[in-house]
């Protein structure tokens, strides 16, 4: 494995600046979340808050172990608990660490209108650069996993950075380091995929026939992947989407209609210009004035005050 640091970028939101390409030694990274090893202890959540200096408000117990209740600008990763009764009638406590999936084809970045507010580094990390964020919320609509959250305080969008600051100096993300049971692993995407394969063999030997890797092709794969006991039913893990991809609505909005709309606007303007050139202005003629005067007279149109203050004869 070569260097995994977040040095170069391969995509920047809303800009056409060419990404640098001379350095080609960067490998793509991945975080592998092995749900089957996870005990739901929330160490990842705590480590994330501690490292990233995030402190939410202290909430309330709301009839679930999910605390806080949802991702928010101060909660970039969240354990979601599901009590699931399997086909055999046995209880399984499915616990999934939710957070940014770092899509290879990031919908947030595609949707973002602010230049440089979302970048994708060469190692695959999709990062929000808060200084450039305008707070429009388009990333929220662009994301197929419902991850980014807009702060009501500073109107910036926030989500997991995959600890790009740690990765940049050669460290693993804070959640990965903390995870007590090794349910979160970090390395090159190639290595993580390989390791997931070994885990799946073990799980199948323990009776989980549908164990598998969640690396959805709809977004060209992700840099955060899951090992699931029931990969055939990802939705039982607190609604992990079966076939995530950037919404067709968003693709259309950020794709085809942009050039078509600009073309349409331009066409309208050009048509006007051409009409001007060809037909020219529509100007009132003296005959028109005369005809109008005749009508007015015929109707015995009253004199008005205005008429007494004539300063200019209409043409």
């Amino acid at each position: 494995m070569s260097n995994l640091q977040s040095q170069d970028y391969i995509r920047i939101s809303a800009t056409t600046t060419t990404p640098p390409s001379a350095r080609s030694w960067e490998d793509q990274v991945a975080k592998l979340i092995d749900v089957t090893r996870c005990i739901g202890c929330k160490a990842c959540q705590a480590a994330c808050m501690e490292w990233n200096d995030l402190r939410d408000e202290v909430g309330y117990f709301e009839g679930t172990y999910d605390n806080p209740l949802d991702l928010d600008p101060h909660t970039w990763t969240l354990m979601r608990f599901t009590e699931y009764v399997d086909d055999k009638g046995d209880l399984e406590w499915l616990i999934r660490k939710d957070g940014c999936m770092h899509c290879e084809d990031p919908g947030c970045l595609k949707a973002c209108p602010a230049p440089g507010a979302i970048v994708q580094y060469a190692n695959g990390i999709v990062d929000f650069i808060s200084q450039n964020c305008i707070g429009c919320g388009y990333c929220v609509k662009g994301c197929p996993f419902n991850i980014p959250r807009i702060s009501q305080v500073d109107h910036k969008s926030y989500k997991c950075t995959l600890c790009s600051d740690r990765v940049a100096v050669g460290l693993e993300p804070a959640c990965v380091k903390a995870c007590p049971t090794g349910a979160i692993m970090f390395g090159s995407k190639k290595d993580m995929t390989h390791w997931a394969g070994e885990r799946i063999v073990d799980l199948k030997s323990r009776g989980f026939e549908n164990a598998g890797l969640y690396d959805p092709p709809g977004v060209d794969g992700t840099h955060v992947m899951y090992v699931l006991h029931h990969a055939d039913k990802p939705e039982i893990y607190a609604g992990l989407p079966q076939h995530p991809k950037i919404s067709a609505t968003v693709e259309f909005w950020k794709g085809l209609i942009k050039p078509v709309a600009l073309a349409g606007i331009a066409a309208a303007a050009i048509s006007g210009f051409l009409h001007w050139v060809i037909a020219g202005p529509n100007v009132v003629q003296p005959e028109d004035e005369q005809a109008a005067e005749d009508v007015l007279k015929a109707n015995d149109f009253p004199e008005t005050g205005d008429r007494g203050h004539q300063t200019e004869h209409p043409t």
Binding site: G63, N67, T181, R199
Partner: protein
Amino acid sequence: MASLAPTFGRGAMTNTWQDIKNADVVVVMGGNAAEAHPCGFKWVVEAKIENGAKLIVVDPRFTRTASVADYYVPIRPGTDIAFLLGLIRYLLEKDQIQHEYVRAYSNAGLIVQEGYGFEDGLFSGYDHEKGDYDKSSWTYELDEQGFAKADDTWQHPRCVMNLLKTHVARYTPEMVSRICGTPQDKYLHVCEMIAATAAPDKAMTSLFALGWTQHSVGSQNIRTMAMVQLLLGNIGVAGGGMNALRGHSNIQGLTDVGLLSNLIPGYLTLPNDQEKTFDDYMKTRQFKPLRPGQMSYWSNYRKFFVSFQKSIYGDAATAENNWNYDWLPKLDIPLYDIIKAFEMMNKGEMNGYICQGFNPQQAFPDRGKIRRGLSKLKFLVTMDPLDTETSRFWENFGPQNPADSANIQTEVFQLPTTCFAEENGSLVNSARWLQWHWKAAEPPGIAKSDIWIMSGIFHRMRELYRKEGGAFPDPILNLTWNYTNPTDPNPEELAKDMNGRARVDLKDASSAVSKKAGELLDGFAQLRDDGTTESGCWIFSGCYTEKGNQMARRDATDPREQGIAPNWAWAWPANRRILYNRASADVAGNPWNPAKPLIQWNGTKWVGIDVPDYGPTVKPSDGVGPFIMNAEGVGRLFALDQMVEGPFPEHYEPLESPTINALHPKVQSNPAVRVFPDDRADFGSPAEFPYVATTYRLTEHFHFWTKHARINSILQPQEFIEIGEALANEKGIAQGSWVRVASKRGFIVCKAYVTKRITPLMVDGKATHVIGVPLHWGFTGQARKGYGANTLTPSVGDANTQTPEYKAFLVNIESVNGPLV
């Protein structure tokens, strides 16, 4: 651990945390390792992944540990002994025991004397008046030399093996299921999985914690599994053991250093009133071997004791004054434990109490009684980094602490202390490792270390006694205090005190000087009983030697990656990482499991990756047993007189139980348990309180500390209880709604978590509901204000250790509209 010592000789976790990865089967029962010890639990996950291990979880609730288990079975709180004795019956009936191991390394073949018996729930010698046993019949039949008689063929009707068979015969699968509520097929499946580790090269580890200790039969819970492990040959081997997962960072250390009512550092014990003289005292402690040729290491007791007295009293302790034996306080009762202390407070028998880093207002049973007790004190001193409930017990916080300040005459001192980040020192972890840590920052404000504060109190007391005289000032005036800075001794000096040093030039057998006067000792083998050595805690001897601070070692090298890391920090005793590791090899000294040997005999000495828990050159043919602390050299299936309620475990119902004891209705609960009359009056009946409650930790919190930390308060913000869907439906309790949970002693009003993870159990044909009560909340800190689980718990303890019965008691529950204001 007053259950492992009677069985194996020492009361501590036998193996290391990392060694768990060598297990073939991991049983988590009487604990919830994933929840309470996530970072230790990683080695269970490693065992599963790297060793193909199977994880079995037996728990009233489907816990976080269960969420990654291969097999989970439910059990009614407080019935573990029935489950495990049934397991022993299964193992004996199916002959799934490791024969050679049991024959050589347990007391299965020793013969018990004739007077011993068991009938209708009581062992021989019970005194109904006193509620106590005369334990004289619980012993071996001795021969002329004072050695126990043995029958290695197990033919003798009174050999331990046969007594055991008879004892467990009643625990049929039907009976187990009837008592525990565990479905029979699931129970038998667990038996089958566990029995597989009887093979010599297979190991099972038992991970347990307060889920076993916090019962009126807590010690016997553990002992029963210890017996299972002996029968399966799983003690002393890699991946085996009885792994008592201690709760607090230095609770092992505090126990090692003897900060309990009856202890002297190093598991020496204080004298009692009957031991009038030093000789009386020594008689019951210097255990002579009960079998020929055994080490019976406690026969060195005198060396440890004298060296200890020299350490704390120096020149004032002499042979002539019996090393100041009389300066030690004597006990008139077995223990002045916490339950007794608060009983005394409530009766007005106590005036002062010092709580050092301890929060009894939340942590002790029956919070109401605790508050009433503290209110009767003249003074209370708290030393804590945090603003504890105890230090504010007198302040009215509404229903969570309805104190009447004006009527509480207690003077309270709230002293701010340093925390871990602000001091040097060592902590002993569960696996007995003494690990040094370094100060990183200054404490906030003018907070001071506990060392500074205790020294301050001591110096002022000593000064007052010097000036004014008073009651028996001698021990105070003569306490050794040779520290560079007497007002703030540095931890390194204290560590050296515990390690011990030579007081004169020590000479070895050849009369050469082996240690110069004043030099630090290399280990407890150098201790002497003539006053020429001193050591503050003999089991720690070797932790700080002339070679430096061994506890600060940071070489993580792990030979064969077998989870020993012998050069990381230092472990007591003598840096042994796996206790009883002699038992990892067969009688001839060859490892049971050649793939994972710990030590083995190479013809001249014991070699391997661990320090032998054995004489390093003792030949296998000498027949010395692997349990060197025990007078018989073997592990005890029959515990002699070491346990107060019997040499074998027996199922007794919790003091508050929803059912009658199916085995012996006349002896419902532990007959040797101590209950104060006022506490007994506060026990509830199943008619009034029909549901079984159990209290526990959540992984997001640590006791009542982390509610002071913002992040942890975010992760679990508010007090709640857990109930199954069936009970919730019956009671009309909606998810996340408010409920009132009451016991005879008090009530809490909090949110309800309705879960599939708790299901009703069929106990004696009746559906029994369990209510889970997480314990972390209180009225100070960052989290939402709560009552605390111990508002509900009963003030009764384990008969041996007086550990409160937090894990099984009775409550009622009802839906309410909202919190009390």
